[in-house]
């Protein structure tokens, strides 16, 4: 759970408020990252989740606990934040610092933080799925009640690992949810130019598994889909494929000019930008007023600045790290 989650004693917040809080945190972090990349304060391969914040926040608030496992990708900072990773360690890792969750050795594409359930972040498209099957196999054998959530993109649905993983997870009725964050592009390839299924969720039928396509930017619709999948998994009824349709505003990588993107589609997506849309919904529904929202956002901003300062001020890892963590025992010099 994100750090901004109120403590157990606080009065229960409305789910949409909790989702907004998390989405706003992701949004702020992403904004600052891009700012620092632009200014040169930071140099890192960075894949912005801009547009997918509400999706990740909704997933995190659908009943997933910090004991549950998450596997995500290079475009994973939204998932990691939503899963509750401490911001300091996360941002320090992106800075390549010794205080990062992986001592700076993994970097943004390989963030790991088992305490919050962030088990594996992979840079190889689709490879998180077999690993998720393994995490879920462990839970199935140990009967530890954990659910594994694996996030991947629309492009990843065309790689062999997807097929093998869904078949095996269904065969073994594993507690795993396959969450396809369909942002309509795989690098520069538009959905229909790489994927022959009308909906990725259609592929679930070939594995005797429920598959559902949902608007991932609509927190209420997505919450239902995720909760149902989670319930199925916890009840031992096996995996679900949830295709959450969203949009990727910043191109594939930081600096991607995105010339290949359909302009009209982009404009329409931007008009429906899920973060301001959810903010407006909260006000409309009377779940929060402007003052409360501003206060929340200010608190978040402070928290983010704190983490950035922590990361900036931290030292880089030393040369001995090249001989550490190769094996459990240190390799002799």
């Amino acid at each position: 759970m994100p750090e901004t989650t109120p403590s157990a004693g606080a009065p229960a917040e409305h789910p949409l408020v909790r989702i907004y809080r998390t989405a706003a945190l992701i949004h702020r972090v992403d904004e600052r990252m891009r700012g620092m990349l632009t200014s040169g304060e930071l140099a890192a391969a960075y894949y912005s989740p801009r547009g997918q914040e509400v999706l990740a926040a909704t997933l995190a608030h659908s009943g997933v606990t910090s004991d549950d496992y998450l596997v995500t990708t290079y475009r994973g900072i939204h998932d990691q934040i939503a899963k509750g990773m401490p911001l300091d360690e996360l941002i320090a890792e992106i800075f390549g610092k010794a205080t990062g969750s992986c001592k700076g050795k993994g970097g943004p594409m390989h963030v790991t933080h088992p305490d919050s359930g962030v088990m594996v972040t992979t840079g190889i498209v689709g490879s998180g799925m077999p690993i998720a099957v393994g995490l879920a196999t462990s839970s199935s054998i140990r009967k530890d009640g954990r659910v594994t959530v694996v996030c991947f993109g629309d492009g990843a649905s065309n790689i062999g690992a997807f097929h093998e993983s869904l078949n095996l997870a269904s065969l073994w009725k594993l507690p795993v949810i396959f969450v396809c964050q369909n942002n309509l592009y795989a690098e520069s390839t538009a959905y229909a130019n790489g994927t022959t299924a009308e909906h990725i969720a259609d592929r679930a039928a070939g594995y005797g598994m429920p598959g559902v396509t949902v608007n991932g930017n609509d927190p209420e619709a997505a919450l239902d889909a995720f909760t149902e999948a989670l319930d199925r998994a916890r009840a031992g009824e096996g995996p679900t494929l949830v295709e959450a349709v969203t949009y990727r505003f910043m191109g594939h990588y930081f600096g991607d000019p995105g010339t290949y993107m359909d302009r009209a589609q982009y404009e329409a997506a931007l008009a429906a930008d899920p973060v301001p849309a959810l903010r407006a919904l909260l006000r409309e529904r009377g779940l929060a007023d402007e003052e409360q929202l501003s206060a929340m956002e200010q608190e978040i901003a402070g928290q983010v600045e704190h983490a950035i300062a922590f990361a900036s001020d931290s030292p880089y890892p030393g040369a001995d790290e090249l001989r550490l963590d190769i094996y459990r025992e240190q390799v002799p010099a």
């Binding site: 001592k103 690993i131 196999t137 093998e164 993983s165 190769i326």
Partner: protein
């Protein structure tokens, strides 16, 4: 147990295949995080193509001995995920050529996750795989690919040479905290050797002086070890005293044992079944010559299989394989 039954136990002969089964059985009994997965490994499916897992699903249940579909990437990936969660999965990849399909998981993930997570996770999995020429299975079922894996920091690569070695090394691999690949030679499965004592574990990363000798060191591993030991006995009759070093673990390589042996004998012959070009022997040869420059009485010689795919036709397959007669010539030339 009385002393008499102990002695009987010791004298008992078992096959290499049985030795592997015993190792898995002991590991599963000792540690309930150990579980097996792979194609046809459960008893309903016959207990594995080479029957190494035979009986284990009946004994430990199909939760812990899991037959899989034909999905090598998912098999290795599942092992990676379960290992990250703290289990000790043992994945069977039926034949080593199929490991090509699981190499992303093995190399990009299993080998690196400890490092890339800054030690926050580890991957205590074992991949068992069978291979080797001599059975007439041709180009896609016979390759020895251990050199690839040895080139990957983070993996441990083990190639046992006899039943007792297989037992001790496999057990150590399963209980090791890092990803291990154990390569079992199909042509050894039905060979017999002395049964090791229950519980025997052979440490990883340590080579074995299989025979002490003073004239020339033959450094080898896996199937050729037995053949070289026989040759050594024959040559002993002629007064040539061969030291036989069984590497056991290819990576991490026990450089010290190799160098001490060759520093003593001043002559080295390296033997392996894999093709020579860019093979394991290259690293061993290079380290010997680099470290013992000026101390060698003769150039290091490598005896390997031909630089070709494994041919199907039996007479050609025989010619493809490393020749023990070539080892003999190399030893004699070294001594000349």
């Amino acid at each position: 147990m009385t002393d008499r039954t102990v002695r009987k136990e010791r004298a008992r002969k078992i096959t290499f295949q049985q030795a592997c089964t015993i190792a898995l059985d002991e590991a599963m009994a000792a540690d309930d995080t150990v579980f097996l997965l792979g194609e046809d490994v459960a008893d309903r499916e016959g207990g594995g193509t080479f029957k190494v897992t035979s009986g284990l699903s009946t004994k430990y249940g199909t939760d812990r001995v899991r037959s899989t579909p034909i999905s090598e990437q998912a098999i290795v990936g599942t092992a990676v995920g379960a290992a990250v969660a703290g289990m000790r999965p043992v994945a069977e990849i039926m034949l080593m050529n199929f490991i090509t399909l699981g190499l992303d998981q093995l190399v990009n993930h299993a080998a690196k996750l400890r490092f890339m997570s800054g030690g926050r996770t580890g991957v205590p999995l074992t991949v068992r795989t069978a291979t080797g020429a001599g059975g007439g299975t041709g180009g896609q079922h016979s390759d020895m690919l251990e050199a690839w894996l040895a080139h990957v920091p983070g993996l441990k690569v083990v190639v046992p040479s006899s039943p007792a070695e297989a037992k001790g090394l496999l057990l150590s691999s399963v209980l090791d905290d890092d990803p291990c690949v154990v390569v079992e030679h199909t042509q050894l499965y039905w060979t017999k050797g002395e049964a090791p004592e229950p519980g025997l574990r052979i440490p990883l990363g340590k080579a074995n002086i299989a025979r002490q000798g003073s004239d020339v060191s033959v450094i080898t591993y896996g199937r050729p070890v037995g053949q070289v030991l026989e040759l050594a006995e024959k040559l002993a009759g002629e007064g040539i005293d061969v030291e036989v070093v069984d590497l056991r673990t290819i990576s991490p390589l026990d450089e010290r044992t190799v160098l001490e042996s060759v520093a003593k004998t001043r002559r080295a012959v390296i033997v392996h079944e894999a093709v020579g070009q860019f093979g394991v022997g290259a690293e061993v040869s290079a380290r010997i010559s680099e470290e013992l420059h000026g101390q060698l009485a003769a150039p290091v010689v490598r005896v390997t299989s031909a630089n070709a795919p494994v041919p199907f036709s039996k007479p050609l397959e025989d010619k493809y394989l490393y020749q023990i007669s070539d080892v003999e010539s190399a030893i004699r030339k070294s001594m000349a």
